[in-house]
């Protein structure tokens, strides 16, 4: 609180905060230093998780992530947004610690109130978690497996995006983005396309990708479809010839389709998501990089949750989720079959929200793969966002 006070005073001296305006507790904490005539926004989120693998008898505890958001409004048309993330608490030179990464850093240009353009490192609208990845917004300590391995959230790339809302159809939103592509050289067996992301770090612009989405709010439903198509071989002509893969803008492409629906009533929430990936030239990627790339990947999950508010305003959530993913739904002949990449998960748990923005989570995860190897986890964690 004292530090926050110093910060506010600092911002005042820098001219970001108008003098004469009294900062209430709600102004400074609940609204994250946002006020109508203030240009700089500071907020953040984070989570810590205790994980006990009951099958292996091994437990760990980790400060999963701490993220600092800083935004600045230059004028009513142009704003800056950024998220700086530290994963696993510590970054040191021993190579066995966490990471510091920019999760977002983009400029937003408002065309009008219903249309804007983003340029920089941003998160395309694909899936549920990718945009809405704050730990106080999803059930369970860990993000859904499908939205980590099939849709590699948090998936951010460099590029330019257009975001719009229909003035004719209430609640209809759409996006289109041109971003850098992936690197098939960095695909990892069992992890889909996740390893191929550049995340804004010295990305190849020889391979590009397009992505788009339709999002619609109708009564208590939030429904979305999205697609991605992009090249994965941003290499030179000589390298492509040597490796016998097609380079260029959409060379050696990855296509991803996703659809999700959420039902958001006052106390009851249902979520369903399906995602499919096609890598048509997986055989050539395997021949070039020997990384066991599959031709098709499929994942889906269903989740139900019930929220209860006590007379004192405390909120409890009970949820259950089933997930299925097949990271080798179809594989080329030059790949190695791995039945452990076909997994099912059953997750159930509770969340306790003592105050808006703070969540204590307890959940149990049962995991089984096609070799009938089972894993059981209990996770206990705390998350915040402001």
């Amino acid at each position: 609180m004292f530090r926050l006070g110093l910060l506010v005073i600092g911002l005042q001296f820098l001219g970001f905060v108008s003098f004469g305006q009294v900062l209430t507790k709600e102004d400074s904490l609940a609204a994250g230093l946002i006020a109508s005539d203030r240009a700089t926004v500071i907020s953040g989120y984070g989570s810590a998780i205790y994980e006990n693998n009951l099958t292996e008898g091994k437990a760990s505890i980790n400060l999963d992530r701490v993220v600092l958001f800083i935004g600045h409004k230059f004028n009513n048309k142009i704003s800056f947004f950024s998220e700086l993330e530290i994963e696993d608490a510590k970054v040191a030179g021993d190579g066995n610690t966490g990471e510091v990464a920019m999760e977002q850093a983009f400029i937003k240009f408002n065309i009008d109130r219903n249309n804007y353009i983003t340029a920089g490192l941003f998160i395309p609208r694909i899936g549920i978690i990718n945009e809405n990845h704050l730990p106080t917004t999803f059930n369970g300590n860990k993000r859904p497996f499908i939205e980590r391995y099939v849709i590699p959230a948090t998936w951010r790339e460099l590029g330019i995006g257009y975001y719009g809302s229909s003035t004719k159809i209430p609640g209809l939103n759409y996006t289109f983005a041109l971003i850098n592509g992936l690197s098939s050289a960095n695909f990892e067996s069992g992890k889909g396309i996740r390893g191929g992301r550049f995340e804004g770090s010295d990305a190849s612009a020889s391979a590009l990708a397009i992505t788009g989405s339709l999002l619609h709010y109708y009564k208590n439903f939030r429904s979305q479809v999205s697609a991605y198509y992009g090249g994965t071989a941003g290499i030179t002509n000589d390298e492509a010839k040597l490796l016998n893969i097609k380079n260029g803008i959409f060379g050696t492409p990855v296509a991803l389709l996703e659809a999700d629906v959420q039902y958001l009533a006052n106390n009851v929430t249902f979520k369903g998501l399906v995602s499919y990936i096609n890598i048509a030239d997986a055989d050539k990627i395997n021949a070039a990089y020997n990384n066991n790339t599959p031709e098709e990947i499929l994942g889906c999950y269903l989740e139900a949750a019930y929220k209860l508010t006590t007379p004192k305003g405390k909120k409890w959530t009970v949820f259950g989720r089933y997930e299925y993913m097949d990271m080798q739904m179809k594989r080329p002949s030059n790949s190695v079959s791995d039945l452990t990449q076909r997994k099912q998960f059953v997750i159930g748990g509770i969340g306790f929200q003592p105050v808006n923005g703070v969540l204590v989570k307890l959940d149990y995860t049962y995991q089984v793969d096609k070799t009938y190897t089972e894993q059981n986890f209990i996770n206990l964690g705390v998350a915040y966002s402001f």
């Binding site: 209430p170 609640g171 619609h216 659809a259 399906v274 499929l298 299925y324």
Partner: protein, 143 residues
């Protein structure tokens, strides 16, 4: 047996995807009546809205005041009960998507009720309200 099971899961997922697609796109295909919008340019004072604009089907009037960065949603909650809410998410100041069922922020998933109260995080604060002067025929939004 394994092949059959795999096919079953594939078909189940396909069916699930189809259903999600139908649920996702069906409402768009319907003729959704747009929210009533009023364009104005008032820097300070009042924005007068006729109560006759509100009908049994349309309880929201969206005020696009060019002097302000964010729209104002004037919501009729009861016969003589109105609220004027700023369409700015209290989380990170992004514009909200107004619908007849509430207000949504696409940036991080926050949602708000028609009363302007937080329904889903990460927003923690309710929406800013404007003062109103209500008469038998008009609602005056004081800005």
């Amino acid at each position: 047996m394994d092949t059959e099971r795999r096919e079953f899961i594939k078909k189940s997922c396909s069916l699930c995807a189809s259903l999600i697609g139908i649920v996702a796109l069906a409402p768009i295909a319907q003729s959704c009546s747009p929210l009533l919008k009023i364009k104005t340019d008032v820097k300070q004072g009042g924005i007068l809205v006729m109560r006759s604009n509100f009908t049994a089907e349309n309880k929201i009037v969206l005020i696009k005041n060019t002097s302000f960065e964010f729209d104002i949603a004037l919501v009729q909650l009861g016969q003589d009960e109105f609220k004027a809410l700023e369409m700015k998410c209290s989380h990170q100041a992004n514009s909200l998507v107004p619908t007849k069922n509430g207000f949504f922020c696409n940036a991080h998933g926050s949602s708000f009720t028609l009363e302007g109260k937080v329904k889903n995080p990460p927003a923690t604060g309710n929406l800013k309200e404007y003062k109103l002067e209500i008469t038998a025929d008009t609602v005056n939004v004081i800005v």
